[in-house]
Subunit: 197 residues, 2 copies
DNA sequence: CGATTCTTTGAAAACAGTCAATCTGTGTGG
DNA sequence: CCACACAGATTGACTGTTTTCAAAGAATCG
């Protein structure tokens, strides 16, 4: 199970065997059944989890009971409420599994240790953070500048691995559209792109 | 002019006098007239600028010529296209001054030097980055979950120092609304909140 | 003052959301 | 293996919101 994370660390961060071994010792495996929570609102996000297999979502429930999906995660993504993870404060978000999933979890203390003692790890994390920053920028740009149809097309292009894996109404939530609107947008889109009507 | 940055560094990062002196030596002052560019699309963002005085905006021009404002900056904020600054690649964005402004600029080389040699500086930057992350999260949440009116109220609450300082149509651009809509929303809002109609 | 920028307003059209009903596929328990 | 429940997707009719276009009114600046 650690092989998957090891391969990732080599590819993304060029870690050495010794470093891999160290990290391997610090991770805790966890299985989640579909619908099971990884984190619930009000609890502190004490871990950062590498997704070996499966699919998760991080979302917020607003006062009127609506769910707003902030992020998805699939294989080779990290999942955590970083705000709570870094601050130690209770999370506003929920994280649950959309499929049966396998994770490798690193707790805050060990994460901090790795950041201090393994420069390659730190470099990798910094690189990921920069990527993340760019992703946020382009999501915000999409939010403020695109029509429903463009948002949908953009989503498919940006997250091809996700859009055919999660329910459509969750994509709608992620994009800030109603499921009905997304359903219609998508139908028009299929017609336009010459898919067998 | 450096006093303003010095005070900031002491407050936010607890920097010592020696460190302040070092940073002072590495900054370059710059004055911008209203409407003047700090950065134009296609150029690399080689500097990070501390705003001593004035007000700037970072925005993107889409294919159809529309301007989409990604961020504002006022006194004691930093301004740069961080994506380009960190990657060294040409920027997609423009930055210009909304008022006559005074900046203190640090170039990439000196910034990297500070990050490596002044732990307090690095700590401060990391803290700011975490803040920034949270701000992005809540902006995205606002984008996908709020009505035009809520977005406007939220903006006023979040950026009281900005909303009464920049033109309304720029707030509209920042929020992803048309200026007409924002104008109407605001008028209803004023009526609702008992302002002398 | 004259020019420019910014804001507001009105009317029409486009767009997206809501409500309600139906349809589909999946999986579970009897 | 079937029947049923359930989650998800679609559709139609309607409502409400937002945009667009056009024009006019304020405010600001040189």
């Amino acid at each position: 199970m650690f092989d998957s994370l090891a391969a990732y660390l080599v590819e993304k961060g060029g870690l050495t065997n010794d470093e891999l071994k160290l990290i391997g010792d610090l991770t805790v495996p966890k299985r989640l059944r579909k619908r099971q929570y990884l984190l619930q609102e009000g609890n502190v996000s004490n871990y950062i989890s590498f997704i070996v297999k499966g699919c998760l979502r991080l979302y917020l429930v607003s006062k009127d009971g609506q769910e707003h999906i902030m992020r998805f995660g699939v294989e080779n993504w990290w999942m955590s409420d970083y705000e709570s993870f870094h601050s130690g404060l209770p999370s506003k978000y929920n994280i649950d599994a959309l499929e049966d999933s396998e994770l490798l979890m690193i707790d805050k203390k060990n994460y901090d240790l790795l950041m201090e003692t393994v420069p390659d790890f730190k470099r990798m994390v910094d690189k990921l953070a920069a990527r993340n920053y760019e992703a946020h920028q382009s999501r915000i740009l999409s939010n403020i500048s695109e029509t429903a149809e463009e948002k949908y097309e953009n989503f498919i292009k940006t997250y091809p691995a996700i859009f055919d894996r999660v329910p459509l109404h969750m994509v709608a939530s992620f994009l800030g559209l109603s499921r009905e609107t997304l359903s219609r947008v998508r139908q028009q889109n299929a017609r336009k792109h010459g898919n067998n009507s």
